[in-house]
Assembly symmetry: C2
Homo-oligomer: 116 residues x 2
């Protein structure tokens, strides 16, 4: 099954998880289009100044892969800078948050949430 | 957990699944670094003229997301062109293949295999 970018659904989350601005979630596939144990397969775009606030994942894990831009990433309490090509995983019981602190560069992430 | 691009492992598959040239698989995470039911979370790079031959997935499904470049994609017998931002899924029992038929543009894919 092919899914064209123009056919993907978009969720705009304002101040997501207590973050700033908005997160634009483009659903690469919607639940029901695949069968595996995952509740999100999407790209997430954060424009400069936007962020997703700190939150814990329980009974699931989230993988981020940085497609483009630079992220300020809180990895369970430790903050680091991620560049394009870097990745991170927030395992069950861990906390993370992510921000685009750049002045003029879009941050684009590929995100997968694996459920148990 | 953060995984730097420089710390990711690479598998170079020559004539993968009967394809041409080589597929460069950069493992975003290795099995054991996450717990969900997936056996591959990786980027796949195909240089011009390279391809992965036709193969069937059984008891698993593979999602491709085109990060950059243009792909000639065989979706269970039907061939279409995929551009950056497009995606596809090969469900269990289905067949697919993918080729970079461009003259000078690298094809980069994000790939996830969900197992059942």
């Amino acid at each position: 099954m092919i899914k064209r970018n123009s056919d993907m659904t978009t969720d705009i989350k304002v101040e997501m998880r207590g973050g700033n601005g908005q997160a634009v979630i483009r659903n690469v596939f919607d639940k029901g289009e695949y069968k595996g144990a995952s509740r999100l397969v999407a790209t997430i775009t954060l424009e400069p100044g936007c962020s997703i606030g700190a939150h814990v994942h329980e009974n699931e894990e989230e993988i981020f892969y940085i497609i483009k831009g630079t992220a300020t990433y809180n990895d369970n309490g430790k903050t680091e800078i991620l560049n394009a090509g870097d990745s991170c995983v927030c395992l069950s019981g861990q906390e993370h948050s992510i921000a685009n602190d750049s002045n003029n560069e879009t941050l684009e992430i590929f995100a997968v949430i694996l459920t148990y």
